[in-house]
Amino acid sequence: MKKLTKVFVNSPYVVWSALFVIVPLFIVIYYAFTDANGAFTFDNIVALKDYGHNFRISIGYSLIATIITLIIGYPVAYELSKAPPKTQKIQMMLVMLPMWMNLLIRTYTWMNILDNNGILNKILSLLGLGPVTFLGTPGAVIFGMVYNYLPYMILPIYTVMAKMDDSLLEAARDLGCNGFNVWRRLILPLSIPGVISGITMVFVPSVSTFYISQKLGGGKIMLIGDTIERQMQSNYNYHLGASLSLVLMVIILVSMFIMNRFSDGAGEGGMVA
């Protein structure tokens, strides 16, 4: 293959990703370390100490949400993989379908349902259980995260489980393994890649969300995403916004790194529509 051809084919993407993927990251660093006059400063980094609480609750709530989606999603994925092959595709589609409803509307509708005079509280009042305050609580925000990202936990686990060779499981049972051990020694290890994938696909959007906390947190729960949004769109303090984003990126990188230590070898390429 002629070298010129290779250069010709490769350069558009190299240029594009340099300009619009790499450079922006450096610009974030630039803004994080400068002030309004362009002078170098650590002020924006120092200011981060006031936001420790926001970082803690963001990571905390998304971890809880991730664990919940894992606990719920794992059995569901298993169920799906055991269903008759004909219905598996349809059932998988059913699980993914709610994701096709716009994120904003999904969350907004839950806000309506959970509001003080919303549908859920109306039903509870009828049952004499009195109105319960759902919105503005950490529970509501975690609930929102679980709702919005549960299918992203189910999908990869299901994919891995569906590929599992049934004859392996049969062989294990024939050799005397009881149900629990079949799961612990065979299914669990083989499903780990799916679990890792699921954890990533739930944790990353959860920790960085602002819309879910805005709508379900009643403006009382400020996650990192909320603080960034406020700096960028209301206070127009791009420098503080940049330093907050920088820390968020670091958090994501660290969690990616931790996840990589758990999974074996290279990740699978090829995402199927």
Binding site: N116, G118, G136, G219, K220, R230, Y236
Partner: protein
């Protein structure tokens, strides 16, 4: 292959949806226009306004923007996503967008004039300016009427749901009452929020004493545990749906909410409250000055001003509206209280940068 066909069909459906001609049910025609609206066809106009702050054609009302576009042939970008004066200021300052018309409140206009962000408006080119009532001319923030044309007049009060609140409250301390914990809303912008505390503490809302602002900030922090949420336009759904019991908000918006939920009542707090005038201004960054003038003149057309006043339910500064016997809020006791019921009011003045950044820092500490 079949998959591709499916995609194309679905796309075609969506595109067809999008290309559907606008149904003629739309009310976008104004009959008796006094001004001349020719000469600027094909040009563009970028307007920044508050949310839900213009008659938009819903439920048979006049769609003012569409009517303006139809009458003048100008393409309007109507940006109503900025929820506060501070955000409007920041939007103009950041230069992210070139704005032709902006409709901030009095004190923000005062600041923008001080910082040379606005252009002078040649009122001789706005024939309908004659309709502006004298009492809204030569106001403190624009004494020579050079930079602004009044859009709306309003006062802040407290809305409450009479089925959820006992008695007839008359004081700002209703917003701190722990009896209604998690059922109280407040403002999500710092100036309005601080004012609720300042009025309650008997302070001047335009004071420059940092210690007083600290006291107001402490009062606001005391409020956080009983607050359900800090809102602006979200207040409509909350109060109309009975999801909250108490909310401070603007008198005109109360009338709107009342028409949906009759359990809502309103009062002007005895400690005093904020009066404001929102006016149309033309930023220095405007690219279409002539169209901006045309827009202002259009807003002052009798029919248009009446339609807007009816839609917004705010008090109007337009003589043609307030003297119109068909105006449904003529002499309304909330919008136009007589001398007996007029509340104690204060305008917000623009505060100098030192105090401003001080209270903005206090605010960040409250909402963080």
């Amino acid at each position: 292959m079949k998959k591709i066909v499916c995609v194309i069909v679905a796309c075609a459906m969506l595109i067809a949806l999008a290309a559907l001609p606008v149904s003629c049910k739309r009310n976008d025609t104004v009959a008796n226009l006094e001004g001349d609206y020719t000469g600027l066809e094909g040009t563009s106009l970028y307007i920044v306004n508050w949310g839900e702050y213009i008659s938009d054609g819903s439920e048979g009302t006049l769609d003012i923007i569409k009517a303006f576009e139809k009458t003048t042939g100008i393409n309007v970008t109507y940006d109503d996503s900025t929820p506060s004066n501070e955000a409007m200021y920041a939007k103009l300052k950041s230069g992210a967008v070139a704005v032709d018309i902006v409709i901030p409140s009095d004190y923000m206009i005062q600041r923008m004039i001080k910082e040379d962000m606005l252009q002078k408006i040649d009122t001789s080119k706005i024939p309908n300016y004659k309709y502006i009532l004298d009492e809204y001319k030569n106001l403190y923030f624009d004494p020579q009427n050079e930079y602004s044309v009044p859009y709306n007049v309003g006062m802040v009060g407290v809305i409450y749901n009479k089925t959820m609140v006992e008695g007839t409250p008359d004081s700002w301390n209703l917003l701190w009452d722990s009896k209604y914990t998690n059922n109280i809303l407040s403002f999500s912008n710092p100036r309005d929020a601080f004012a609720t505390a300042q009025f309650l503490l008997g302070q001047d809302v335009n004071n420059t004493d940092k210690a007083l602002w600290d006291a107001a900030a402490e009062k606001l922090k005391e409020q956080t545990p009983v607050l359900q949420s800090r809102v602006m336009d979200e207040v409509f759904n909350k109060m109309e749906g009975g999801n909250a019991a108490v909310a401070p908000y603007y008198a005109g918006d109360y009338l709107l909410m009342k028409s949906i939920n009759d359990d809502l009542e309103f009062f002007y707090p005895k400690e005093g409250t904020n009066i404001f005038v929102d006016s149309m201004c033309i930023p220095k960054s405007a690219r279409n000055y002539e169209a901006a003038l045309m827009f202002i003149n259009f807003m002052l057309e009798n029919e248009v001003a009446l339609a807007n006043a009816e839609y917004l339910c705010y008090a109007s500064a337009h003589s043609g509206v307030v003297n119109n016997p068909d105006y449904s809020f003529k002499d309304n006791e909330i919008l136009y209280p007589d001398s007996e019921h007029k509340p104690k009011t204060q305008y917000f003045y623009d505060l100098d940068p030192e105090i401003r950044s001080y209270y903005e820092k206090l605010w960040e500490g409250i909402v963080r």
